[in-house]
Amino acid sequence: MQHANHIEVNQLKWLGYSTDNILPDGGFGAVSARAGVGKTSLLVQIALNSMIRKQTVLHISLDYPVKKINLWYKEMFQLLVKEFKVDQERELWETILPYRFILTLKVDKFSVLRLEERVKDLIEQDIFSPRMIIIDGLPFDESVKDILLELKPLVKDLNAHVWFTVRTHRHEQPGADQLPIQMTNVKDIFDTIIQLHPDGEQICIHNLKGGSGELNTAKLVVDPSTMLIKKM
């Protein structure tokens, strides 16, 4: 199965990224939203887009087991192929699967040193070398800045980029630049910050920092029934 045949499975065109990564090498991106709004779903779509373009994705979850994350990918992939009417779904899934690696750690066990150890082990054994990393469930509290600063050189060294999920809370007021309060202290470390915001029956995608293409101009939403990115 040729990947090129499936570039049409590209919901990221709405974000203005048909063939490129949203983030540069060494870059950090964040998707912020309240619990249950669809942060992980959005990142899984970005990850699937990378996998289809033969770019490796390391998905690190601090909350959920491998099986559950695998299920998200499977379901999101099925929705995408249905949306873009792609044949030979099974072959495409089997072709892109080796481009993903899921690592689950307990939140309290997460450290950059531990992550470095794992990733280097995978690279040295020629098992997996990540180009995109998703860190899902890292608490953005007072200690997060140190973790991010420690992570930055490692990510540069790997020529990879990292997406984080940032959980916000209903009662919190946004900080300066309308950024979530969790991001105000660390905004300089990030290249792109995207916010998912429920608005009536829709979930709107707001670009709070960085990004290009229609991410800045068009009104983008996440379809709440499928969680796929859509243009209004």
């Binding site: 087991p65 491998v66 099986k67 099974r90 690696f101 689950t104 098992i127």
Partner: protein
């Protein structure tokens, strides 16, 4: 035998290998006075645990066949099925769960929720079996029951409720605190048979109060009366609390967690109390059968002994007095001398001897009432058969049986062994639907098929031990398959004129891949270009081609054939001619449809200490495995991967040496996937070499 259904429990004890479930069962039998001495699995006395009735099980320290046993505890009748822990014997677990009303999920306090526990849990979900959990091995180093409770929630999605907390852990384990009655329980006497209750130790009072609060909080969701009592700050009685917990358990909305150490004789009696108090009786469970006379409409069965009989044969054993069939009666009652019908065969059977089983000993009984499990003698049937009263025609829903993925040639060493081998195979294939055997037409070899290397190994050993059949085995073979990857068209004419009446048939159409079915045949002929009477011959011709694929002679699957046109001759066309035409058409279409070979891929889960994660991943990678992910949890990691079965032969030895024997793995069939080109070429080469040798 009492006939009070509310005091009857049919339970299974399910768990990961080596969680200690056989030891636990042994203790249950001891405390319920079914046995008078304790013999441990791999114990020094060489007797072995009572439930491991087969000699082989005693030697290996594993439980293979589920032996049904019966015991009594505090005026309740309990039927226990001891189930195997290895995934290769999952059909046994599935069968047990089919007939059980509740289960005890045994978890190791050190290992926690392991991969096999996840498989067993999925099976319990499939059959909607309510369960309680028992965290065993609290005496072991590194035991942490609360971590296991967290895992029950995170890994299995249960809503666990601790009903006890330990008094001490590891070497200091003294007993447990019962959070329902708020008292400490100690297990005195040589075998922990004397229960002593006392005040909760001062140091544990705060923790016990906190955990009791949590328990009451969760239980209150299932009882308005309990919620009221809490709101009015009244005392919560044990009866009220247990009633609410029971409701939640039956709905599978909560999983009560008990704990102890079966090996150290601690915590088993309170577990038996919990079985009585929390698990369902047969009347609490709704069982359905299919009415074969009314288009298989589901019919709800009732435990009323006066209704027509419905019973399910769930396990067969060949003993010295003939075939022993384990049955569960769902409706009515089976008595000596009654006549029932085997729904599958339509044969009438007169019930001769009825027994109740206790491992490999038995006691004669007169009747098996609805809800009860027992065994009948001398009835020729297969596992999964339904027996009913002659006036009804119900069938219990069929059990899910996976397809075998591995095969092995077995060659008897002499004539006597040949005869004994046939007897053994006849019995084993009847007992275990995932174990099959056939004779290869070309080589004349007897081939056995099953769910994994260990599965087949155990049967070969049983042939030797139980039937004295000495057999040598060939290399294990993977069940490869052939399929097509693109649509192709065919238009083939079969014409033969060799004097006398000729043969003529033309078939045109197309074939294309299909993913959900093994084979689909579609007749799209309009206008009668192939007369209707020859259509079945066309289908038969195509079906015959599927048995041996043109590429490498593996079975062909996932093909849809549609015939759209054709031609016939008023004199020369016949069924035979159209079958031959179909063969030709298949070969023509198949070669153009880009045929490929598929191999079985196994879902492999390796549990290893984290320090060996690297080498384990490397070993899976070397075996063409796709590592899906790795899950770190405390000192252990679980690596999940998809690996071709052909690469997994001998992996247990490899993993032992890689991890100093500290890792273990389970595998089960996941899917069929295309073989990479170099491997396919190698297979073709091997096939050609084998042909040349002939």
């Amino acid at each position: 035998m009492k006939n009070e259904i509310s005091t009857l429990r049919n339970i299974g004890i399910s768990a990961h290998i080596d969680s200690g479930k056989t030891t636990l069962t042994e203790r249950i039998l001891f405390y319920t006075k079914r046995i008078h001495a304790i013999h441990d699995v791999k114990g020094k006395d060489g007797v072995g645990a009572t439930m491991d009735s087969m000699e082989l099980e005693k030697e290996r320290g594993i439980t293979i066949a589920s032996a049904a046993t019966f015991c009594e505890w505090k005026n309740h009748d309990i039927n226990i099925i001891d189930t195997p822990g290895h995934v290769d014997f999952t059909i046994e677990v599935e069968r047990s769960l089919r007939v059980l009303d509740g289960a005890v999920l045994v978890l190791c306090a050190v290992g926690g929720v392991q991969s096999q526990s996840i498989t067993v849990d999925q099976q319990m979900k499939r059959y909607k079996v309510p369960c309680i959990a028992f965290v065993n091995k609290l005496d072991r180093n590194g035991a942490n029951p609360f971590r296991v409770i967290d895992q029950l929630r995170d890994k299995l999605g249960h809503n666990p409720v601790a009903m006890q907390i330990p008094i001490g852990l590891e070497g200091d384990l003294e007993g447990v605190i019962d959070l329902v009655n708020m008292e400490a329980i100690y297990f005195d006497g040589d075998n922990g048979e004397i229960l002593r209750t006392g005040e909760i130790p001062e140091s544990l009072r705060a923790q016990a109060a906190e955990k009791r609060e949590e328990m009451i909080d969760k239980a209150s969701l299932f009882s308005d009366e309990l919620t009221e009592a809490i709101l009015e700050e009244k005392d919560v009685s044990s009866k009220l609390l247990l009633g609410a917990l029971r409701k939640g358990t039956l709905l599978r909305a909560i999983t009560p967690v008990l704990m102890g150490s079966a090996y150290k004789n601690k915590g088993v009696q309170p577990l038996l109390d919990a079985v009585n108090n929390l698990l369902p009786c047969p009347a609490d469970i709704q069982n359905e059968a299919l009415d074969m006379d009314k288009d298989e409409i589901p019919v709800i069965l009732s435990t009323d002994p006066n209704k027509p009989d419905v019973a399910l044969a769930f396990k067969l054993e060949d003993g010295q007095y003939g075939q022993l069939t384990y049955i569960r009666v769902y409706q009515g009652k089976l008595s000596k001398g009654t006549t029932v019908v085997n729904v599958r065969t339509g044969r009438k059977i007169k019930i001769g001897r009825l027994v109740r089983m206790h491992a490999n000993q038995m006691e004669d009984i007169e009747t098996i009432s609805a809800g009860y499990i027992g065994a009948i003698f001398g009835v020729d049937c297969a596992s999964g058969d339904t027996f009913v009263s002659p006036e009804i025609n119900y069938s219990m829903t069929s059990m899910y049986v996976p397809e075998p993925v591995i095969s092995l040639a077995i060659i008897p060493e002499d004539n006597k062994s040949q005869i004994n081998m046939s007897k053994a195979l006849n019995r084993f294939t009847k007992e275990d639907p995932t174990f099959r055997s056939y004779v290869n037409d070309e080589t004349g070899d007897t081939i056995i098929e099953g769910m994994g290397e260990l599965h087949l190994e155990v049967y070969v050993e049983r042939m030797h031990r139980e039937y004295n059949a000495k057999v040598s085995t060939g290399q294990p073979r993977v069940a490869y398959r052939e399929t097509i990857t693109k649509r192709s068209e065919f238009n083939y004419t079969h014409k033969k004129q060799t004097g006398g009446s000729g043969q003529y048939g033309r078939i045109a159409g197309y074939m294309e891949p299909c993913f959900d079915e093994e084979f689909i045949f579609e007749n799209k002929i309009t206008g009668g270009s192939i007369p209707t009477q020859y259509i079945p011959a066309c289908e038969k011709g195509f079906r015959l081609c599927l048995k041996k694929g043109p590429k490498l002679e593996f079975p062909v699957t996932g093909v849809k054939v549609a015939i759209t046109d054709g031609a016939s001759h008023s004199v020369d066309s016949s069924d035979m001619a159209f079958q031959a035409a179909a063969r030709g058409a298949f070969l023509e279409g198949y070669s153009k449809a880009n045929p490929v070979i598929h191999e079985p891929i196994m879902k492999v889960a390796v549990e290893t200490p984290t320090e060996f994660q690297g080498p384990v991943m490397g070993s899976l990678n070397q075996r063409r495995g796709i590592i899906e992910g790795s899950q770190e949890d405390g000192p252990m990691s679980v690596i999940e991967a998809q690996v071709p079965l052909s690469e997994m032969f001998g992996y247990s030895t490899v993993i032992r040496s890689l991890t100093q024997g500290k890792a273990q793995f389970t595998m089960e069939f996941a899917l069929y996937k295309q073989v990479p080109k170099p491997i396919a070429e190698e297979l073709i080469k091997q096939k050609n070499q084998a042909k040349e040798k002939k």
